[in-house]
């Protein structure tokens, strides 16, 4: 068991996601930065989809009730164990009675703590991910609170994993402000000039950005659209479409651009004009409130290449540790 002493800003149990229920309006949830989540699991000898703790800006203080091995990846929050700094992206040994404490992230937003055996809360619809809107998954369907006690999964001896680390050359750069997108979905609604302005603008991450969506402040979006006689059922605004399904990572134009993240609404009536490519969904989740991002258009083949590169890096990490 792991006992929560202090909660930090917001910490939830997340895994690779809950799939197969999008058609009833169930988003996948899961770790927003899947790269950091998977790497943390590999470091302690878990499978990619074991549940980790996702910490936001500042993580919790935790008391370990048993000997184990943990690793922290993602944003550096200056974690300490019994007051001693622990190296990031590295598996460290924890003894029963040890306290892990967390500072603030100065670069990036989210850290992931993996523990040997994974956080063993009861899966809901095939996943341990927390989805707070309807209160399912994770620990009682909510963010952690003081005195929560988290079960840890059964595992064999993992002492071999201690000292495992991911080479610094493979740590993502959390100051990168370019987010690659494939233009499409309802991008036909944008004028040529509107499309250029969307791609050329500096977009500031609004403070209303969370696991549901990232909102961006910047130029007016209404006049990026082509006027038309609105189709039946869409509604009168130029940004309205007949309600349709939204991909995770898509950018909907609802008064301002909103990138839909893993707890987002699954559909609605605003035009979506681009989809963030999967590796850059990880990157966006590490973009801090009030930072500025630019969207760069790539084609689908470039998107597939970027995904393959990311998968290859994770595979290299996994192999180097096994």
């Amino acid at each position: 068991m792991i006992q929560v002493l202090e909660t930090g800003v917001s910490t939830t149990v997340q895994d690779s996601g809950r799939y197969g229920h999008y058609h009833i309006g169930m988003p996948p949830s899961g770790a927003l930065d899947q790269f950091a989540h998977e790497a943390a699991n590999y470091l302690v000898g878990n499978d990619a989809d074991a549940a980790t703790l996702e910490m936001t800006y500042q993580g919790p203080d935790l008391l370990f009730e048993e000997d184990t091995v943990v690793a922290v990846t993602g944003a550096d929050m200056s974690h300490t164990l019994e007051g001693e700094p622990i190296p990031p992206w590295t598996a460290v040994e924890v003894e029963a009675g040890d306290t892990l404490s967390t500072g603030f992230a100065t670069e990036g937003v989210r850290s992931y703590l993996a523990v040997a055996g994974g956080i063993d809360v009861e899966p809901v619809m095939g996943s341990r991910s927390t989805y707070t809107l309807i209160g399912i998954g994770g620990f009682e369907g909510r963010a952690l609170e003081p005195d929560d006690r988290l079960p840890v999964g059964e595992h064999g001896d993992r002492s071999d994993a201690v000292g495992n680390s991911v080479d610094e050359s493979r740590w993502p750069d959390y100051t990168d402000d370019t987010i690659r997108v494939v233009m499409g979905l309802c991008a036909y609604r944008l004028s040529e000039d509107g499309r250029e302005r969307f791609l050329g603008a500096d977009w500031k991450v609004s403070d209303e950005s969370d696991r549901v969506g990232y909102r961006f402040e910047g130029p007016d979006i209404q006049d990026m659209f082509v006027e038309r006689e609105q189709p039946f059922g869409a509604g009168p605004d130029v940004t309205n479409v007949v309600d349709l399904g939204y991909p995770v990572g898509s950018i909907q134009m609802a008064g301002q651009p909103i990138a839909l993240t893993r707890d987002a609404v699954t559909g609605g009536g605003y035009a979506t004009v681009a989809t963030i490519i999967s590796p850059d969904r990880d990157a966006l989740s590490q973009c801090r409130v009030h930072s500025t991002v630019n969207f760069e258009a790539v084609d689908v083949d470039e998107a597939l290449e970027a995904r393959a590169e990311r998968d290859a890096t994770l595979e290299t990490i996994r192999e180097s540790l096994s």
Partner: protein, 299 residues
């Protein structure tokens, strides 16, 4: 009053890449039963074919969305496969087994009324209620007449989404009798759970409290989402209706609302429901007559 529903000629589908792992297919830009029935038929067929590498298959009002694993299947191959399905499927006639549910609604209820009044500054017409505004722009004499229209003919569930279990419902009448309303100028930050709202050409029932942009008309005492599956009618799934099911909104008063709510809360409530074989051809030919026939199972 028009007696039949005119079939719509649909354009060629528009296939779009959604990043590296989604394909979005728009069957029509405007809403029609034809576009929706095609979305349901195609996604059912895709599901039945068991194509390797598909993660999510989600039909929507006039489109559908597929998530896939690009490690198994390339998006180019997927689109080719979807075009094959499109060319092979028979869309001349539709029929399926539909569940008909009666959904009691307290129109102009105190909870949504309070919400409506709290967010007047985000509305097109701050001086009327959502009901008064919607009645006026659709040519009804009064909110009362508008409510009668809304509860006067059943609705088909054409999409489930936005949040888990939220049904989008399209009234089963010819287009010239369908009402259309805009969404709020700026979405509200609050909507009561079980609120009955309307935006574009769709009625929505909000399963949980949260943000929302639809005009609000009333509240139902019954659930459309039961996460813990405590009510008997949720034994198989945490969501009530599936796309293709039919909802009949029945106007109730406050006393009945309270009585039903009590039964829902103590777990004893049973929905008034029945199964029908929905025959699209008969519906298109004589919607009013056919609707009356469908509703016999809930009367």
């Amino acid at each position: 009053m028009s007696a039949s529903i005119e079939r719509q000629e649909l354009p060629s589908p528009r296939y779009e890449y959604g990043g590296d792992d989604y394909v979005f297919v728009e069957l029509a830009e405007d809403m029609s039963f034809d576009a929706n029935f095609k979305a349901q038929a195609i996604t059912t067929e895709i599901r039945d074919r068991g194509i390797d590498g598909l993660v999510e298959i989600a039909p929507s009002n006039a489109s559908y969305l597929i998530q896939f694993d690009p490690g198994v299947l390339s998006p180019h191959e997927l689109i080719a496969e979807l075009k094959t399905v499109e060319s092979e499927i028979d869309l001349s006639d539709y029929q399926w087994e539909a569940e008909v549910y009666e959904i009691p609604v307290l129109y102009d209820d105190p909870w949504t009324h309070e919400t409506v009044m709290n967010f007047r500054d985000r509305h097109q017409d701050p001086d009327s209620t959502d009901l008064e505004y919607s009645a006026r722009i659709n040519g009804f004499d009064s909110a009362e007449a508008f409510i009668e229209h809304h509860a006067g003919a059943p609705h088909m569930v054409t999409m489930v989404g936005f949040v888990p279990g939220l049904p989008f419902c399209f009234q089963m009448v010819p287009r010239e009798r369908q009402v259309e309303v805009p969404k709020y100028v700026q979405p509200r930050t609050n909507t009561p759970s079980r609120a009955v709202g309307f935006g574009g050409a769709f009625t929505a029932i909000y399963p949980v409290q949260g943000a929302g942009g639809y005009q609000l008309y009333g509240r139902t005492p019954v659930e459309v989402l039961d996460v813990d599956q405590e009510l008997a009618d949720f034994e198989e799934s945490m969501v009530l209706p599936d796309p293709g099911d039919i909802l009949n909104f029945r106007r109730i008063d406050r006393a009945e609302y309270d009585a039903i709510r009590e039964e829902v809360e103590d777990g004893s409530y049973r929905y008034t429901r029945g199964s029908v074989e929905f025959l699209a051809g008969e519906f298109f030919a004589d919607p009013d007559g056919y609707n009356e026939q469908l509703l016999e199972v809930v009367r």
